[in-house]
Subunit: 289 residues, 2 copies
């Protein structure tokens, strides 16, 4: 437990927690990629994966495992797999035929650096790699839990969720999107993958069904709040599925806080064990990028 003392009250030290867990995730990817080839495709795969972002989803998976009494190592298969899926989706989203972005995290996007064909392939390879990581035998995790988590990830990543939400995002015109459709896109495009990180982390650590159901609802609320917070940070965005465009700033803020409160409620029973998850949810919603 990372507890720091503030005004005599024990508070969760999120900064230290994030630093330690991010390092663990980065270490995993460094080691994982060290066994791969050195060719152009491998370079394109490493381009966005190895510098990495906040590693928010993998850290959530680890926090969920720890919240149910498990260890970080047990969550690594789903932590890594979700990040690999997230990374592939960013590469494909950036393509000229999609959002046509030249830069991400201050670097040229993969298709700018390696060409479109290799960017498509790097994304394709990262998706396969997610399932490769997640279906390896792992001495501390039951094969039932691995198979169920791989199934959940496949559903979260495919047409039912991530890809389906992205397709709607592309296909909807500005007049098509009301609050309900907005939430449906966000639920599939953002919340489903966050929820599978959390539920998967807990499942690999041996959590019971009731706890998994609570964490599923926690993850969905948090994922939706995360997306609204993202939209609020990019207030002037004219994107069709921006919460600010559809709801306005005030209503988006209110919905975000409502979802965060609901998320907290869902895991109230975890008590002190839920400290990291609560701190991460709050960070996701109140962060400034």
């Amino acid at each position: 437990m990372n507890l720091a003392t503030q005004n005599g009250v024990a508070t969760f030290d999120l900064h230290a927690y994030l630093e330690a867990r991010t390092k663990q995730v980065n270490g995993f990817f460094e080691q994982w990629m060290a066994s791969r080839s050195e060719g152009v495709l491998a370079q394109a795969i490493r381009h966005l994966l190895l510098p990495g972002g906040k590693r928010f989803r993998p850290v959530l998976a680890i926090a969920a495992a720890e919240a149910v009494g498990g260890r970080a190592e047990q969550a690594l298969p789903i932590a890594a797999a979700v990040e690999l899926i997230h990374t592939y989706s960013l590469i494909h989203d950036d393509l000229p035929c999609m959002d046509d972005d030249d830069e991400r995290r201050g670097q040229p996007t993969v298709h700018v650096a390696y060409g479109e064909a290799i960017a498509v392939l790097a994304g394709d390879a990262l998706q396969a790699m997610a399932f490769e990581v997640l279906t390896r035998r792992h001495e501390d995790v039951s094969i039932e839990a691995l198979l169920a988590t791989a199934h959940d990830l496949a559903r979260a990543a495919g047409d039912l969720n991530l890809v389906g939400g992205q397709a709607d995002d592309i296909l909807f015109g500005a007049d098509d999107v009301d609050a309900a459709r907005l939430e449906s896109v966000h639920r599939r495009k953002t919340a489903a993958l966050i929820a599978v990180a959390i539920v998967g982390g807990a499942r690999l650590a041996g959590a019971d069904v009731l706890t998994l159901q609570r964490l599923q609802r926690f993850g969905e609320c948090m994922g939706l709040a995360f997306q609204i917070a993202d939209d609020l940070l990019d207030e002037t965005s004219e994107e069709v599925c921006s919460s600010v465009r559809v709801l306005g700033v005030a209503a988006a803020r209110a919905r975000c806080e409502e979802l965060l409160a609901q998320a907290f409620d869902e895991i109230a029973e975890l008590g002190e064990c839920g400290a990291a998850l609560r701190a991460l949810a709050e960070f996701a919603v109140r962060r400034e990028r």
Copy 2:
């Protein structure tokens, strides 16, 4: 056993076998897709998947399951998964930034019919769907076998094989490719997926390790022969990794026959039970499209 009598000798009736098994695979996909939405993405997913091609890979998976004493139903998860991966790879290969093909199987390609962004997403969704199908619990199959097969498929589909071979195919110049590199590309781009169909089908049906090893080698030889046969059917192709361009027609034909003979050797021990696999291998190599 589909046996027909030709000049008094019992021969395997491949035509009847292919028809029955293809129907079974098509039925599976019809039913599977019936539960999905009716939106544009789902239409794009159905576009190439539902008319389908020869269903050669799924039929191989089923034949392998039957060769080891199992039933077709046990092989369906990997049969379907391999076809989903194959279909996604065709959609992405056809993209303007890759081979830029307008037609496939006499129809407009997915990006011509639905636009590039939806074609990228349809391919992405099909890959996820492959792992969704393969990681479902299945009463007649052990979870160990499902997990191991999902892992094999992930390795066959990713940077180590399918995607890696495709990347080399794009990156190599004409002067880079000798016989060894040609075979390396074909092994990863074509043979690995065919081998995983065969080994997976047998594994889900409960085959022992020794049999799986034999079937792995059978699949690799057959997959390589299949690719050379494909190149021979498109003799004038100037593609960098065409067997005809690199080896010449005579040497390509000889290598193809050599691989077929080796494939037969690998499964000699299966005896009569290997009749469908042998007939399919022969068909793959001697077919006229």
